[in-house]
């Protein structure tokens, strides 16, 4: 359940900081690198993954959970099984953010971005592992889809956490529906017998692509 993070891609952290390819001075890069070192050293990312069969009506077998929204339904159309995933950087990430914040917003902004990159990396690695292990079964993995993407309601975060009993990795959902620690992810991935059409990587497949401040320029 505890996963080891060896590296946090700096480009990903820069992306979360709104970087668009302008020159970055050495000192700033060093600051980001230093934060990344601390995140790798001090946090203990945790992941929960569980495989479920899908019932005819789209409910996950043995659970009360049924993904809502056209987008996720479309993604899961060719699938008879899914993986549910919950991942978190853990309570220490919140504590680090609290500390850094009280010492100044400039450092906290960097740390926040590095941690966003870190949890993405944790999920990407996990996804890749699942994708490879499915190849041995001759099966294929769809994209990773989280509540809040497209028309899947954010409130389903809570349901995924309940099914996975995500409190076992210290991931909780507050009364107002936000995940704490903030640097956490829940997601669903479909398992298909035939290769699946994946979303264009980057921003093209996102319904917020026209308004999002984080939109990448590439492509």
């Amino acid at each position: 359940m505890i996963v080891r993070l060896n590296e946090i891609p700096l480009r990903e952290a820069l992306h979360f900081l709104g970087w668009r390819g302008t020159p970055v001075e050495h000192g700033l890069l060093e600051d980001i690198r230093e934060k990344a070192r601390r995140v790798i050293e001090e946090t203990e990312p945790r992941v929960l993954v569980r495989r479920f069969s899908l019932e005819e009506n789209g409910t996950l077998c043995g659970t009360t959970f049924s993904p809502k929204g056209e987008d996720v339904r479309r993604m899961l159309a060719p699938c008879r099984e899914v993986y549910l995933l919950a991942a978190t950087l853990g309570a220490q990430s919140e504590r680090m953010l609290l500390r850094e914040q009280s010492l100044g917003a400039a450092g906290a902004v960097l740390l926040d971005a590095v941690m966003s990159a870190a949890i993405e990396t944790v999920c990407d690695r996990q996804e890749e592992r699942l994708r490879l292990s499915l190849l041995e079964e001759g099966k294929h993995l769809t994209d990773r889809f989280s509540p809040g993407y497209g028309d899947m309601p954010l409130a389903q975060t809570n349901e995924i956490c309940a099914v996975l009993q995500a409190q076992r990795i210290g991931l909780m959902v507050s009364q107002s529906g936000i995940m704490i620690p903030r640097k956490s992810v829940t997601a669903i991935m479909g398992i298909s017998d035939a290769p699946v059409q994946r979303r264009p990587s980057g921003c093209e497949g996102c319904s917020a692509k026209d308004t999002c401040a984080m939109r990448r320029n590439e492509g």
Binding site: W19, T64, R95, L98, A105, L154, S174, S176, I180
Partner: protein
């Protein structure tokens, strides 16, 4: 010590899932919908030997039951009665089972300690009404949360209270709580037994139980999983017999309440029953004297323990301002600084006229506990504030202080007893300040006798022999030192002394304070209250630790004082301030240089000119480059920080002329209730401050009422609200309505990832800012 072993039950969730419970459903509601299934599982446990059966109430709290259509009372009443039926015909008792609420408490999360308390109290009252025989807390990983539950149990019923937490192989919970700190803190609250459940198998739990045994005299609870789960299949790897044998080995650690957690079944309990036949729990144990937080233990009697004194408004303007403006960031930064400087306990004093001291104590203790690991000393003369601090602090605190007057003894010692705290005893009696060492000694004896009446362990009493100012009462320094020696030699107690008062009114104060500190340590002072940021003080402590042998092989001393390689380099890194202009220094984010240049410019320019002709244009230029995407966020922030350093120089210059150095405003900022995503708000704060505005930052998860109250109190000219999530934006609308409802007309500016200008208008905001630059532009337009 010896006690008969009580067999607990095994897993409930595992059994219910086998019986068809769906994941995502609330197992507790089965007591209503399928009572027979629950009863038959529980009966099998009782038949296997369970003598304290946990009712099916683990998550029967109002938050988790929300939406199920059942009330807490209904579910608990049904669950206790099902358990009762399962016990029928045996001597088995029924415990109300209480697990975590499922939300993270403040300051990392949004659930307040008192809300958690209320949720637990509701369960406990329902459990008492339903006829439960005991209250059993289990699977907690947050010390603050389980403390809220235990206090609720202690204050709402007379039933026995059992408390168990869940640890990882590292010996900590995933919130970082140490096993020994948990045992110290839970013992302090007066539970009947404490221990470990879930997460690990019996073999992995053994070392954790040993850590607990080392610091408590209470019987221990042992409820392991059926070994460790196979990562691929989720199946557990231990047989009932192996499990039982491993558990039986821990009876000589004092494991007296033994059962199973995830993966265990009635077969495991039956095996335990066989293995424990005729065995009793036997143990040697004593409570540790000392204090702890959730993450650090500070044992008394092992040498010098430094108490950091900086969280105290006395004589500190900046700190007073922080208290008046609710500026937790500043207060927490003071805590971090002291922790980094080597303090081992932090004194928390927030007494200031016009401040609601109990409420402020609660807030500061909560905020500080989230950011630093150190145990706390709750410092107040107001018993209500002391109690607020003791409730909020996760751990065992030191109370500063009780004195020898009857009024003080009667009001403070009951609190020390109730919360199981350690206490500082001030040698101050009905006749005021003592004159001689003998008087001090007698007052110490009197307090000690009183603490013994309350059953407060001797090892948790620390005597303060009072430091008086040597320039005013010169003979008193010797009296203090002599009393210290006698308290150590004749009473064997810990000692505390606020050291710096000694040199008040003298030149070169540090010299006198340092000499007094060293003499006092030599006379037996164990807990000096000092400013750990003052290098001379910590140097003296380091040296004393070497001389007393506390610092074995002088290792810590050598590490701290060996010549450093980096100092020279850091100096070389500093650029010559003359080479850059103020505008360059700001745009490149060079803080020190910006301050130095501003200082120099102020010799020839007025503060106003410096701001208007140099700082604001420089910031504007940076803002423009940000807007054109020539620079990105961190560069904007660094520039803001550099101009902030220059502004500090300006403020200092203005204050020198006697005028108030406060900027325009105030502007009130808050992240709305329910939301903890405050990074955007913090960016706005920094940028506004560095444009010279006076910003009052209420923090995150701020209820509408607090925004309204603060806006009224400070006469806010502009109010900024942030929210990140679609789920919390409605609270922004609520806050604006509350502001308007109370007749406040200050314009409201809103921001946040999911907001748009259109949406901002719809919820009644006056302005929408897409980023910090826009927020600053709006503030400039409104406030000039």
């Amino acid at each position: 010590m010896e006690q008969r072993i009580t067999l607990l039950d095994g897993a409930m969730g595992t059994m219910l899932q086998r019986a068809g419970l769906k994941l995502g459903d609330r197992p507790e509601t089965l007591s209503m919908t399928a009572p027979d299934v629950v009863e038959s599982i529980q009966r099998r446990y009782v038949q296997a030997g369970t003598r304290l059966l946990l009712a099916n109430t683990f998550c029967a709290n109002a938050h988790k039951l929300d939406g199920t259509g059942y009330s807490v009372d209904e579910v608990i009443s049904a669950s206790v009665s099902v358990a009762r039926k399962a016990c029928a015909g045996t001597e088995a008792r029924v415990a109300l089972d209480i697990g975590p609420i499922g939300e993270l408490l403040e300051p990392l999360g949004t659930l307040s300690f008192e809300e958690a308390y209320a949720l637990f109290a509701q369960m406990i009252r329902a459990g008492v009404k339903a006829g439960a025989d005991a209250v059993f807390f289990e699977t907690f990983s947050d010390l603050a949360e389980i403390r809220a539950g235990i206090l609720a149990a202690k204050e709402c019923c007379d039933l026995p209270v059992y408390a168990s937490m869940t640890f990882e192989q590292s010996g900590r919970t995933f919130l970082g709580v140490r096993a020994d700190a948990a045992a110290i803190s839970l013992s302090a609250l007066g539970v009947d037994a404490l221990g470990v459940n879930c997460s690990l198998g019996p073999k992995e739990i053994a070392p954790i139980l040993r850590d607990m045994r080392a610091v408590t005299d209470l019987p221990l609870i042992l409820k392991p999983n059926a070994g460790l789960p196979d990562p691929a299949t989720g199946a557990y790897n231990t047989t009932p017999q192996e499990f039982a044998a491993a558990c039986a080995d821990m009876t000589d650690l004092g494991a007296a309440y033994i059962g199973g957690c995830c993966g265990t079944t009635p077969d495991f309990i039956a095996a335990l029953h066989d293995a424990l036949e005729g065995k009793a729990a036997r143990w040697e144990g004593a409570r540790l004297s000392g204090v702890c937080s959730a993450r650090e233990v500070c044992a008394f009697g092992k040498g010098v323990r430094v108490i950091g004194e900086r969280i105290n408004p006395t004589g500190k303007k900046r700190f007073q301002q922080a208290l008046r403006e609710d500026d937790m960031n500043y207060i927490v930064s003071q805590a971090i600084e002291q922790e980094d400087a080597g303090a081992q306990i932090l004194d928390i004093n927030v007494g200031l006229p016009g401040i609601d001291e109990p409420e402020m104590m609660r807030r500061v203790v909560t905020a500080v506990s989230g950011a630093v690991s150190l145990p706390l000393q709750i410092d107040s003369s107001n018993p209500a504030a002391i109690e607020a601090g003791l409730r909020a602090a996760p751990g065992k605190c030191l109370v500063n202080s009780v004195n020898a007057t009857q009024a003080s003894l009667d009001s403070v010692l009951p609190l020390v007893r109730k919360y199981g705290a350690a206490v500082v005893a001030l040698t101050l009696g009905e006749n005021g300040l003592p004159k001689t060492s003998q008087e001090r000694f007698e007052l110490a004896q009197k307090i000690l006798a009183e603490t013994e009446k309350y059953g407060i362990p001797r090892g948790d009493v620390a005597v303060d022999c009072l430091t008086l100012t040597v320039s005013a009462q010169q003979e008193q320094a010797a009296a203090t030192l002599d009393a210290l020696r006698r308290v150590r030699d004749e009473l064997g107690l810990e000692t505390v002394l606020g050291v710096s008062n000694i040199s008040f009114g003298l030149p070169a104060r540090t010299l006198v304070t340092q000499a007094f500190l060293m003499q006092a340590i030599a006379c037996g002072l164990t807990m000096p209250i000092i400013n750990p940021n003052q290098r001379e003080m910590m140097d003296a402590v380091d040296a004393c630790r070497v001389l007393s042998g506390e610092d074995a092989s002088c290792a810590a001393y050598i590490e701290r004082h060996a010549p450093s390689q980096t100092n020279g380099k850091r100096e070389a890194d500093k650029k010559d301030a003359a080479d850059v202009t103020i505008s360059e220094a700001i745009s490149k984010g060079m803080k020190a240089e910006a301050a130095a240049i501003a200082g120099k410019m102020l010799e020839t320019e007025t503060p106003l000119d410096l701001v208007e002709k140099h700082l604001i244009p420089a910031l504007d230029e940076v803002g423009e480059r940000y807007e054109k995407q020539q620079i990105f966020l961190p560069q904007l922030m660094n520039a803001a920080a550099a101009s902030g350093a220059a502004f500090d120089e300006v403020r200092r210059a203005i204050e020198k002329t006697g005028a108030k150095g406060e900027g325009k405003g105030p502007i009130l900022l808050a992240t709305v209730e329910g939301d903890i995503h405050d990074i955007g708000k913090n960016i706005v704060r920094t940028v506004l401050e560095n444009y010279g505005f006076h910003v009052i930052d209420l923090g995150r998860d701020v209820p509408a009422e607090r925004v309204v109250a603060a806006a009224e109190k400070h006469g806010a000219k502009l109010i900024g609200l942030s929210a990140l999530m679609t789920t919390t934006v409605p609270n922004m609308e609520k806050t604006i309505a509350a502001l308007r409802g109370s007749g406040l007309s200050a314009p409201v500016i809103v921001g946040g990832a999911v907001l748009t200008a259109e949406y901002a208008r719809r919820i009644g905001a006056d302005y929408y800012a897409k980023d910090a630059k826009q927020a600053a532009d709006i503030a400039k337009a409104i406030l000039g």
